[in-house]
Symmetry: C2
């Protein structure tokens, strides 16, 4: 079927459809909305799309997204470079960074070990982590990985690799999240929350 929309309009619909979770109807809606965008937004939007890939590199130290060779976090001297928080991807890094509760630095793995999917330790950004730990005399490595088989496998691998290195290795707490109805939490999380229970002290 020939397109029922004008050429450029239709091109834009097709591009929006290449993005995850955006189907035909939504893409049409976004194209109509794009007709209403301010000219300055359009300028930035078009430019960002065009140059995103070329300008967005990976930090040479931690693999975080960065337009420079070193990301803002790694080049920040006020942060504690002796504590490395290991995350799966840049998105998770930002999630932790948004809490404002962490003043150390990060290491982005860019994936998790998953032999079933053919992802082995050498396929993710681990070698650089171990070299970095060796070189920088790191005090603590915090494993902040997704609670899943892959996350656990990766955590275990790192833990074994760093054994006898005189480094504190910690793992973030998994359990029931705040503000959720208990009924929406899966059984495995509840089991974990139970076994990780803490003693309440009387005053």
């Amino acid at each position: 079927m020939a397109s029922l929309y004008p050429h450029t309009f239709n091109n834009l619909i097709e591009c929006y459809k290449k993005l995850p979770g955006i189907g035909e109807k939504n893409a049409e809606r976004l194209a109509f909305a794009s007709l209403e965008l301010d000219d300055e937004i359009i300028e930035v939007f078009s430019d960002s799309i065009k140059n995103l890939k070329a300008r967005t590199k990976h930090c040479q130290i931690c693999d975080n997204l960065s337009e420079e060779d070193e990301c803002e976090i790694c080049s920040d001297k006020t942060r504690n470079h002796k504590i490395i928080c290991v995350v799966e991807n840049p998105k998770n890094l930002v999630l932790f960074e948004k809490t404002g509760a962490f003043n150390g630095v990060y290491h982005v793995l860019g994936g998790l070990i998953s032999p079933l999917d053919g992802i082995n330790p050498e396929d993710i950004n681990l070698e650089k982590l171990f070299k970095r730990i060796e070189k920088e005399k790191v005090d603590e490595v915090i494993l902040a990985l997704r609670p899943s088989v892959e996350g656990e496998t990766t955590a275990l691998y790192i833990q074994k690799k760093l054994a006898k290195k005189n480094i504190i290795i910690t793992k973030i707490a998994y359990g029931v999240p705040l503000g959720t109805d208990m009924e929406y939490i899966d059984a495995m999380t509840l089991e974990l929350a139970l076994s990780n229970r803490s003693v309440l002290e009387n005053d």
Copy 2:
């Protein structure tokens, strides 16, 4: 809070957020996905965004979106120009066009009369419709407007304006849509479906 993502990446997130229904998290997700787009898609995407507004005009006859002075439908001599289907916007035009069941032409109002919202008959594309009907000796005007107070008001206005013009004015059928569970249909639609019931003939 300073951006936690690189400059261009963050610009793109902000642009995606200008689109309807796209919040912070979704915009981040789309920006990450944009990093993975093929170069040729990126080229078309960036170009479409940039030139969409300038290239997309309104058809001088029916107000449909078009890159030419006259849209493809209005300039198609094989279509029946004596039957005009009046729709609210170009999106609805495409919905009807997708059915493949209509060989006439359209007229896009670009809105519906809504005195409460300050939208009066002269604010939508009605004058051109009446002139067109006058000039083209139209046989039938199909009102294909949203079943709502605004749609009904607009339909009534057009109906009154065209009275005594010797034109057939029709309205699309409103009722229970196919394949829906009856329980999800509102009472007004059910009432309409009841009063518009048709007699089943025996063979």
